[in-house]
Amino acid sequence: MNHDAELADDVAIPGHYNLRLYVAGQTPKSLSAIANLKAICEEHLAGRYTVQVIDLLENPQLAAGDQILAVPTLVRHLPPPIKRVIGSLSDTDRVLVGLDIVPLQDLPLEASPQQAPPS
């Protein structure tokens, strides 16, 4: 399977978000999810994210790799652990909770976010 070749390399850069959005065809839900994601990322993750949009109708073999059931599904590959948000991403708050997005200014400088002790 050319799974790894097609998807971006998962290099852990602290504070960097590697996201994948799985859709199935150009349905209204897909289009709205893509638009919503773009808006959220620009607002909250400007400059520290990569997004790949994967159309399962074109690459059905990729569905099993990320255990995709529903579409649209947004998968946060980095930072670990893997997080999933399903739906058209219309509820921004839930997306932020789901992706566990930490505002940039809250990032402790000496540690990466996943190792941060609860403050």
Binding site: Y22, A24, G25, K29, S32, A33, N36, L56, L57, P60, Q61, A63, A64, Q67, I68, L69, A70, V71, P72, T73, I82, K83, R84, V85, I86, G87, S88, L89, S90, D91, T92, R94, V95, V97, G98
Partner: protein, 566 residues
């Protein structure tokens, strides 16, 4: 087969997809509806997954149909390991791309919902898998796991409805498994969407014994067996036992099968049991029920026929050892593959399970005779035992197998409850009992009934000797039938009487001879006396004559002298 009318108005036969599960294909008259989804529901531990996997594996190995197993519960590796216990090498089938396992992980904790969604990805995955191996068979195990992962039931139900429609369009024969729910077939009511065929699995505990049962709840467009059928899961896969439909149409044979005890053969008008008949040997403890059975088995095997021995109280080794003491060598038949033992404790499974197992063993071994030793070991409701034995007898009769069933009688009144209930099933009934008298216990047998032949009504005493069972010529005398020492005593008594009588006779004969001799002697003496007297008399007469002559001549001379003559 049943007829369905397709939309264009032409009648067509409902195609079926055989499951390869022995018995299930019989009771569904061919298998699951082809190209349609079937719902398989049951509580945890009923064997839903194994059932579904069997469907796929036999599809791939026996019917040339590839399959897709979409698992929502078990991981692929676990699944392959679990079904290996049924003797399936799923790993190999996966490697050959005849089977594809897709594990769908549903982790509620990882899923955050924001906005609208659908399950198109599931369709994509399934479609991709089906196309990849060219699958004709699909299993979704257990799709209800989605209900725990996805909270929006409205979306889920709409999508499930769409999924089952989509499966039909794909033309795949699908099994959808589901957990049994309270008051309904499935926990989330998905029987609403899958309505072509519904099979219910059940695992019931009665009196601490578990029995698996299967029921075809509905089968649209086809006739099917409606009862609950026991089924069995073991190292040889799954088998279902559909035998309440057995009609009384057995072929009957007039051939006699020797009983293995020559003296016993003589008690039956035809010289043995009828082939394919059912024989009950009932008796008290220690009356040699097993020995009679083993004698029969031995005789069968010696003629080169196969015999299957179900032992419920003794291990095969123990039976072989014990029978050796009665001069019956069963081991050589086992080695020759003619005799096969199947031993299990009656409490190991329920009655139905035993029945299913016996049925399968009979199918596999194809024996000419079956021995069940003993049927009284089965515990349960009387009517169930009766039904089980009825089915067993039917299975044997249907195959022309001579069945010997032994039954332990508990009380001295030899006709106990279980005997009574099965007596009508039996063609021949040999009753073994014992007679206690004069401080000893003797074994006695008689033929209680034997359908279709003349048989002896004689109570016969028998001995278990080093050379098998020996029937003793009955003592029938003025004092009735006697057994054991009483018989021996009576016999010696008679011998003594006989001797005495003979001696007395001899004595009389000698006396008579003596008397005759005495009389003869007397006769001889008398005769001698007579003869002596006669001699005397003759001499006397002679003398008289002489004297007369002398007197005459004297007178003549006198006359001459006197000249008185002319």
């Amino acid at each position: 087969m049943s007829i369905v009318v397709s939309p264009d108005g032409t009648a067509s036969v409902l195609l079926k997809s055989p499951t390869g599960i022995a018995g299930l294909d019989d009771l569904t008259m061919g298998g699951l509806p082809q190209g349609r989804p079937t719902l398989l529901c049951g509580a945890a531990g009923c064997g839903k997954t194994l059932f579904a996997m069997t469907f796929l594996v036999s599809g791939a190995t026996r019917y040339g149909e590839a399959g897709v197993f979409m698992s929502f519960e078990e991981r692929s590796d676990d699944l392959i390991e679990n079904v290996a216990s049924l003797g399936f090498d799923v790993g190999e089938l996966v490697a050959q791309e005849r089977l594809l396992i897709d594990y769908v992980r549903v982790e509620p904790a990882e899923i955050e919902v924001s906005g609208e969604y659908d399950l198109e990805a599931l369709f994509v995955r399934l479609g991709y898998a089906i196309d990849k191996v060219g699958a004709k068979r699909v299993v979704l195990d257990t799709i209800e796991a989605l209900f725990s992962g996805l909270t929006d039931q409205a979306i889920l139900r709409a999508e499930l409805r769409r999924l089952f429609g989509w499966l039909k369009d794909k033309g795949v024969t699908a099994i959808i498994t589901a957990e049994r729910g309270e008051g309904q077939l499935t926990r989330y009511g998905i029987e609403e969407y899958v309505s072509d065929c519904v099979i219910l699995l059940d695992n019931r505990v009665f009196d601490q014994v578990t029995t698996r049962r299967l029921r075809v709840v509905k089968y649209r467009g086809s006739a099917h067996g409606t009862n609950e059928y026991p089924f069995l899961i073991d190292d040889r896969g799954i088998s279902v036992m559909p035998i309440t439909s057995a009609g009384l149409v057995h072929k009957t044979s007039s051939e006699a099968v020797p009983t293995g005890v020559p003296d016993l053969d003589k008690m039956f008008g035809i010289g043995g049991f009828f082939r394919g008949s059912s024989v009950l040997i009932s008796g008290l403890a220690g009356t040699g029920k097993s020995t009679f059975s083993a004698s029969f088995a031995n005789a069968m095997c010696e003629r080169g026929e196969k015999c299957l021995y179900f032992a419920f109280e003794e291990s095969p080794d123990q039976v072989v050892r014990n029978m050796r003491s009665a001069g019956i060598d069963l081991q050589r038949h086992i080695d020759a593959g003619l005799l096969c033992f199947e031993a299990a404790r009656p409490s190991l499974f329920g009655l139905e399970m035993h029945l299913a197992r016996m049925n399968r063993d009979i199918e596999e071994f194809e024996p000419s005779a079956v021995i069940v030793d003993p049927i009284s070991a089965f515990r349960g409701v009387q009517s169930e035992i009766h039904a089980t034995l009825l089915r067993l007898v039917d299975v044997c009769k249907g195959r022309g197998i001579t069945a010997i069933l032994t039954s332990l009688s508990l009380a001295a009144d030899h006709v106990n409850e279980s005997d009574r209930s099965v007596s009508s099933l039996m063609d021949t009934w040999i009753s073994l009992t014992d007679v206690e008298a004069n401080g000893e216990r003797n074994r006695v047998m008689y033929v209680l009934k034997s359908r279709g032949m003349r048989h002896s009504n004689q109570l016969r005493e028998y001995l278990l000797t080093n050379n098998g069972i020996q029937l003793i010529e009955p003592y029938i005398g003025p004092r009735g039938a006697l057994t054991g020492a009483a018989r021996l005593a009576q016999e010696s008594l008679e011998r003594a009487e006989e001797l005495e009588r003979r001696q007395l006779q001899e004595q009389r004969r000698r006396a008579l001879t003596r008397k005759r001799r005495a009389v003869e002697r007397q006769i001889a003496e008398l005769q001698a006396a007579l003869e002596a007297e006669e001699d005397e008399a003759v001499l006397e007469f002679h003398r008289d004559d002489e004297r007369e002559g002398f007197v005459q001549s004297n007178r003549h001379a006198m006359a001459t002298i006197r000249g008185a003559s002319q």
